[in-house]
Structures are given as C-alpha cells and as structure tokens.
C-alpha cells in the first residue's frame, strides 16, 4: 500500500448485480431482519420459562414438556421458533459458506445445509403437533385418568 503513483481507472468503475438476483437476495436480507425481531421475543420467552423461572434447567423433564405441550399456545410458540430460527440460521450459514467456500465444496456444503434444514423442520413439526403424553409414566396423577381409557 506504499504505492504513491496515481491510478487511472476506465469506466464503469463498479459492477452491479443483475436485477433478478437482487430481488431474491433483498427478500433474504429483509427476512433476516424481520425474523430477528420476532426471535428476540420468542427466544427470550423460551429461555425465561425453561431456564430462569422456577428451578430453571433442573425442572425440565418429560412431564415438564408434556405440561407445556398440553397448551396449544406453546405448540404454536415453539413452532414459530423452530421455523423462524432454523431458516434464519440456515440462511445466515448460506452467507458464510458463500464467503469462505468455492466450487464443489461450496455445492456440497449448501446441499447438506438444505437437506439438514428441511429434515429438521419436518421432524420438529411432527414432534410438536403429534406429541402424545401417554407414552410417559401414566401410573398416577392426571395422566393416569387421561390415558387410562386407551
């Protein structure tokens, strides 16, 4: 950077991305920000209930989760986190892969990212929406009555 000579540059002195790509990338850019704002509320609510109130992480077990998922409010809450965070994270990882990997490696990493994201979205959604408290200990308490008929 010690070059002191004056440089002459031919026009045009910049390159601009094609219009079409910009539309899609701009949507991804907007999604990162919109999902980020929603995730602040969703994730801090999640951490407050699961990691802070009561005895925090100590309280978490099958019964704790069954209690939460008995309420559709938390099924919707957790589904929103699942979809918004996983897509936000995957899109962020796409940016990073594009920054550091080229050629075949980039293609493999982006493919793995896409597969992992789709598989986990489906798996997580199935878990949340088909949850069955009766696979737990039903020998006593509310579940004995609720699941006894089965």
């Amino acid at each position: 950077m010690s070059d002191t000579a004056t440089t002459t540059v031919e026009p045009p002195r910049y390159s601009r991305a094609p219009r079409k790509a910009r539309g899609l990338e701009k949507r991804a850019w907007l999604y990162m920000r919109a999902s980020g704002i929603l995730l602040v509320v969703l994730i801090f609510g999640h951490l407050l209930i699961n990691m802070f109130l009561g005895t925090g992480v100590r309280a978490i077990d099958f019964a704790f989760v069954a209690g939460k998922l008995a309420n559709p409010f938390w099924i919707v809450w957790d589904s929103l986190i699942l979809w918004l965070a996983l897509i936000h994270g995957a899109n962020g990882m796409r940016t990073i892969v594009n920054d550091y990997a080229r050629g075949a490696l980039r293609a493999v990493l982006l493919g793995a990212l896409l597969v992992a994201t789709v598989v986990l979205l489906v798996l997580g959604s199935l878990v949340l929406w088909t949850f069955d408290p009766c696979i737990g200990d039903t020998s006593s308490g509310v579940l004995a009555e609720l699941c006894g008929a089965q």
Binding site: M1, S2, D3, T4, A5, T6, T7, T8, V9, E10, P11, P12, R13, Y14, R33, G36, I37, L39, V40, I43, F44, L47, M51, F52, T55, G56, V57, R58, I60, D61, F62, V65, A66, L82, A85, L86, G89, A90, G92, M93, I96, A116, L120, L123, G124, L126, V127, T130, F131, D132, I135, G136, D137
Partner: protein, 145 residues
C-alpha cells in the same frame, strides 16, 4: 443501498488518487467496533445454529421415549453442560442485542453515524442480562436446592 448511480458513471476516464494508508478505521465494517461486532455476530450465529440442530434432535426424543428423553435432559443438568448453557445464553444474548443494533443501523436514518455508541449500548445491556441470568442459573446447576 445504492439505487442511483454515483459520479462514477460518466463516460470520461477518471483520475483517482491512491487511498491514504494512515487510518483504517472510520468505515462501518473495517476496524474497531464495526468489525469486531461483525466477527462476534458471525461466531455466535454459527454456534447457535449448531446448537439448534442438536436441540431439535434431543427434543425429538420427547415424542419417542419418555425415559430416553429424561436421561438425555439429565445430562443437561450436569456442571459441565451447565457452563455450556451459560455460554450459549451469553452467545444468544450478544447475537440478539447486536442484531437489533444492525437492524437499527439499517432502518433508522442517521443511526449509522452512532453505530459505535450503539455497540457499547448493546454490550451494557448484554452485561446486565447476564448479571440477571448467570447467578440464578449457576445456583440451579451447582446449588443444592
């Protein structure tokens, strides 16, 4: 974002003096707070992403086998994992607060000029968040009751 073409679009050849090498700070992403906040944002983003992958898998056990879920979640209550959770909450807190700073810079006119103070505001809020969370969490993990 650059919607309109700048003065560089003229047809004539331009003569540009070489950049002054003395200062590298003074832009949004090169040097100092702007750069280090970006580095931290990237590292925390990757860490949270990999944790999320694992977290979806461990939680999936809740649909398959109640005892297996309890066994895996039991390991989350050990001291080592407890420290990991502390680090994870710290990472998410920093990513979230700096994320709000990025959003403010992008959407609030003039916020770019105060991006450095905004970074330090995010850091102060982050320290306050951890001051509220960490003692309680460490008590849950290491304490008796």
């Amino acid at each position: 974002m650059h919607e309109e073409s700048g003065p560089a679009s003229g047809a004539a050849t331009a003569t540009i003096d070489p950049p002054k090498p003395r200062r590298i700070a003074g832009t949004l992403y090169r040097g100092r707070e702007g750069m280090w906040s970006w580095v931290l944002h990237r590292i925390t983003g990757v860490a949270i992403f990999f944790f999320l992958l694992v977290h979806i898998l461990d939680t999936a056990l809740v649909r398959l086998d109640a005892d297996a879920y309890d066994a895996v979640i039991g390991t989350y209550k050990t001291p080592i994992m407890g420290l990991g959770e502390a680090g994870l909450v710290a990472a998410i807190g920093l990513h979230a607060l700096n994320g709000l700073r990025i959003i403010a810079i992008d959407f609030i006119p003039g916020a770019t000029r105060v991006q450095r103070p905004l970074f330090w505001i995010a850091i102060v809020l982050w320290v306050a968040l951890l001051a509220g969370f960490l003692p309680r969490h460490l008590m849950h993990v290491f304490g008796g009751a």
